[in-house]
């Protein structure tokens, strides 16, 4: 039993934790061991495909429930992402974190977090799921504060959000257990429709909100940007690439695994407005508001993390669209998002590795010094913005198409608005880092070492290849859909079946390449060109040199700031402040009960006596 890939993967991640504790002081050994273990896990993960449908029951019985794990297509899909992205993160960190202080615990928490995520994904009963879910969220918390100092306060914010969400899930799971008498997914799913309507709604609400916090759905997203942006950039990519998406995993599980579409539509409020639609509206807000917030960020990492929130909205829109294409798009978008956001953040990390900053107002012109990072970022942002031929476009197209087919024009337009906002902010990102004038202090920097380039190249390939040939991933998604009893997406190797829609990425890419060739010929028709210094530049006759900052990147979208500034009410931030001051005030007032005056204390005792007697007398 222990030779099954599932068991081996879980064991390996635990072994990683243990090994890292043992090797706490030996950083280089830690690195090598972690790399080897994660590589082994990826290899095992590939074998996992053959074992889909098998279950593993551990001999550990807690509260009458043996901890059980199962390999479903969805689990395979997620573990594939988890292990591959973790391996890439480790490879990237090998170089980027070498010799940095306070990284002893880095791999430790990475393993713990990976263990938690794998466990959550494999879990076949709610108890295992919740236990590992908790472990995972705490793993996230520890990963967030690897850089110390400034990362502590946002990490604390995360804990408050995460613990709140866990508690909601906890209550939901407890209620499910109380009403169905079981933890096992299968039995719960079977018994779920027989719960009373009100209880069902309560459970669904509790769990949806719980998962919404973890997937950073508006308006519960405020914990994410700061906390992700203040840790190491390689971790920012890991966290926003896959960690946030565990919330989406939970939502998929809840919606398709337990509730099912028919049931979800039963919660009608007014006409078409059912629970699904309400969640979708929040999904749409999740797209628009964070995306436009990202527009005005001055830090590359923070900008990308805001997009991390926004992209989650697409997944929610897709998954909740009740359309085979849309669901497939939503699930596919998780993978795509992971590839390109990791790519973007690795590129930013490469820049940060050399320049030591990710402040968008201080960089510029690095394309001449770090072309690989530039290419990585370019591929990444094309994916993020959802422009063909990168993979982000394919999944977004599925979602738009599904929303239009289902007749939700306003959800569809919000998805498109999000895309436009994304284009604006990613252009700012690439422009302020790589384009414009090179700052004199970065004149001498070099491209990052090969080990850091490798993940960037791999991800570039992935972003492009899955964009042109989405078929292999879509086949997996079709399996996932079938496993939940949904209609599978009608896919072909390069797009969708013509009966369901018009998309053939291979043709588009071929025509695009043809167009590029034609344009290249036109370009060659002209005379030679000469690369000139950046200081040979039009400045209305002014002589430029190094001492003159001749760059436009501060307040890049001034016009929009004029439009949006009056709208920035900071409702969420103010609510957070209000809640925290409420807790503080409550604490302050409640502790005044303990006045320090003995006479008052004595009165409390007397009062308690009287109240107890009266209460007992009245109620007996």
């Amino acid at each position: 039993m222990l030779t099954e890939p599932v068991a081996l993967m879980l064991l390996l991640s635990v072994a990683g934790v243990v090994l890292n504790i043992i090797l706490y002081r030996l950083q280089s050994l830690q690195m090598i061991v972690s790399f080897l273990v994660f590589a082994a896990m990826l290899a095992l993960n590939l074998q996992l495909y053959g074992t889909i449908g098998e279950t593993l029951v551990l001999p550990v019985v807690v509260f009458g429930q043996a901890m059980s794990f199962a390999v479903s297509p969805l689990a395979f899909y997620f573990t594939l992402m988890i292990t591959s992205i973790t391996l890439l993160t480790v490879i990237f960190s090998l170089e980027s974190l070498r010799g940095k202080a306070c990284t002893q615990a880095y791999y430790l928490w990475l393993f713990l977090k990976t263990f938690g995520m794998l466990g959550v994904v494999f879990a076949a009963d709610l108890l295992t799921f919740f236990l590992l879910w908790e472990l995972m969220t705490w793993g996230t918390f520890f990963l967030m504060q690897q850089t110390g100092g400034e990362s502590f306060s946002p990490a604390k914010k995360y804990v408050v959000y995460a613990v709140s969400s866990s508690m909601l899930l906890f209550l939901g799971i407890a209620l499910i257990h109380a009403w169905t008498g079981s933890f096992s997914f299968r039995e719960v799913a079977a018994a779920f429709p027989h719960m009373p309507e009100g209880m069902m709604l309560l459970v669904v609400l509790l769990m949806t909100v719980g998962f919404a916090v973890e997937s950073a759905m508006f308006p519960l997203h405020a914990w994410l940007p700061e906390s992700y942006a203040s840790t190491f950039t390689s971790l920012t990519s890991y966290l926003s690439g896959i960690s946030t998406r565990m919330g989406i995993y939970g939502l998929i599980l809840l919606l398709f695994g337990f509730v099912g579409h028919e049931l979800a539509d039963r919660f009608q409020l007014i006409g078409v407005i059912n629970l699904r639609y309400i969640v979708s509206i929040f999904g749409a807000l999740t797209i628009i508001i964070p995306t436009f917030t990202a527009l005005f960020q001055h830090d590359a990492k923070r900008l990308v993390t805001w997009h991390g929130i926004g992209q989650g909205g697409y997944m929610i829109l897709g998954i909740f669209s009740a359309n085979a294409l849309g669901i497939a798009g939503g699930i596919f978008h998780i993978f795509n998002y992971m590839t390109y956001v990791t790519l973007i953040l690795f590129s930013i990390a490469a820049v940060e590795y050399r320049t030591g900053t990710s402040n968008l107002n201080k960089l510029g012109g690095l394309i001449k010094r770090q072309p690989v990072a530039f290419l990585g970022l370019l591929f990444g942002i094309i994916g993020l913005a959802g422009i063909p031929p990168m993979n982000g476009f394919v999944s977004k197209w599925f979602i738009y198409k599904a929303l239009i087919t289902e007749g939700y024009p306003f959800l569809a337009i919000s998805a498109i608005i999000g895309t436009l906002g994304t284009i604006l902010s990613v252009y700012k990102l690439i422009h302020n880092i790589f384009l414009g004038q090179l700052q004199p202090e970065y004149n001498e920097i070099k491209e990052v070492p090969f080990l850091m380039q490798l993940p960037i190249w791999v991800l570039m390939l992935a972003v492009f290849a899955t964009g042109v040939f989405p078929g292999p991933i879509l086949s997996l998604i079709a399996e996932i859909q079938s496993s939940f009893g949904l209609a599978p997406v009608p896919y072909t190797m390069t797009g969708v079946d013509p009966a369901a829609g018009t998309l053939d990425m291979l043709v588009i890419t071929t025509v695009f390449i043809g167009g590029l060739l034609l344009a290249w010929i036109v370009f060659l028709l002209g005379h030679k060109r000469r690369h000139v210094s950046q200081y040979q530049n039009y400045a209305a006759g002014h002589f430029l040199d190094e001492s003159i900052p001749y760059n436009f990147n501060y307040n890049f979208y001034t016009g929009f700031e004029h439009i949006f500034n009056p709208m920035k009410k900071k409702v969420i931030a103010r609510t957070e402040v209000a809640v925290s001051s409420l807790v503080e005030a409550a604490g302050d007032y409640l502790r005044r009960i303990y006045t320090g005056n003995l006479a008052t204390y004595a009165m409390y005792i007397m009062a308690a006596l009287v109240v107890t007697s009266l209460f007992l007398k009245e109620l007996i």
Partner: protein
């Protein structure tokens, strides 16, 4: 065989039409200002001159690549929009695809301009992108509205549906709100006054084109010529019933161009935030009304 011939010659035909349209635009403008104006083929001379410049400067490889991306992306878009006699690719990518491949040229240009390291260029791009967000939202909403109305996102099918019912089947007739909204958005998309703040020669030295000279500017002008055709054709396909033959296609092109030029000739320039506000107030509200009419 004719397919191959079309594929080879279609860009050239479209380019010729674009050049004529642009020249017509300049002539039209001159006549409004009571000038004689340049010859109608003037744009062709300009492009030829720019392409034949003896020296060219570039600020780096992205600057070069950008132009290729700009023109290549435009050619890609061109192929995916059906015109009479040419409808080979619309079965592989619907107008959702077109909407996004339309962004490739913008992105390419933005990247290249960024590398020229000229603040005027960056400001121009910043404005262009803000304008993009301004006009594309109402435009996309009209797209979606038409798609829901037609029950398909495929260009050819939409054209076929409109043509089936004659002039009263045109999108502009069946849903005038969407048609008008899209027309205003189209105006912004063409970058004509009052929405030409991204170029604004008098304040930011033609913005994106500041550092573009010689063949770089030439390629941008070629792209511009093609783009005019693309944008007008999209509108024709969605709202003016497509075109059954080349004659009606050309008539529609010139009528639409004239409409836009007449507005262009009369206006000054909006500031970018005003332009965006306008776009989000008038056409967007019209589009929302149009969509509400469709879904309710």
């Amino acid at each position: 065989m004719s397919t191959v011939l079309w594929i080879i010659f279609y860009p050239i035909i479209a380019f010729a039409i674009g050049v004529i349209l642009l020249g017509y635009g300049r002539k039209f403008n001159a006549r409004v200002q009571r000038r004689y104006g340049p010859p109608i083929q003037q744009v062709f001379y300009d492009i030829l001159k720019l392409m034949s410049k003896r020296t060219n400067i570039s600020h780096g490889w992205m600057h070069d690549t950008a132009l290729v991306m700009l023109l290549g992306g435009t050619l890609l878009t061109l192929y995916f929009i059906p015109v009479p006699g040419f409808d080979f690719f619309s079965g592989y990518g619907d107008f959702l695809v077109v909407m996004y491949i339309l962004l490739i040229p913008s992105l390419g240009m933005a990247l290249g301009v960024g590398e020229t390291a000229n603040p005027n260029g960056s400001i121009g791009i910043s404005r262009a992108l803000q304008m993009l967000a301004g006009y594309d939202i109402p435009f996309a909403l009209t797209f979606i509205g038409m798609a829901i109305l037609a029950g398909t996102t495929n260009f050819s099918e939409i054209i076929a549906l409109q043509q089936a019912e004659g002039i009263f089947g045109w999108g502009l007739m069946t849903n005038p709100f969407l048609g008008v909204a899209a027309l205003i958005a189209l105006h912004g998309m063409m970058g004509e006054k009052p929405f030409e703040v991204m170029v604004a020669p008098h304040e930011i030295a033609t913005g994106p084109m500041t550092e573009m000279g010689g063949k770089y500017l030439g390629m941008m002008m070629i792209q511009h010529a093609l783009n005019v055709v693309i944008e007008l054709t999209i509108y024709i396909n969605l709202f003016l019933g497509g075109a059954a033959n080349w004659a009606s296609y050309l008539v529609k092109l010139f009528v639409l161009m004239t409409l836009i030029l007449s507005v262009n000739a009369l206006f000054g320039r909006f500031r970018v935030d005003d332009a965006v506000r306008f776009m989000w107030k008038v056409p967007l509200v019209l589009a929302v009304i149009g969509v509400l009419i469709i879904i309710l």
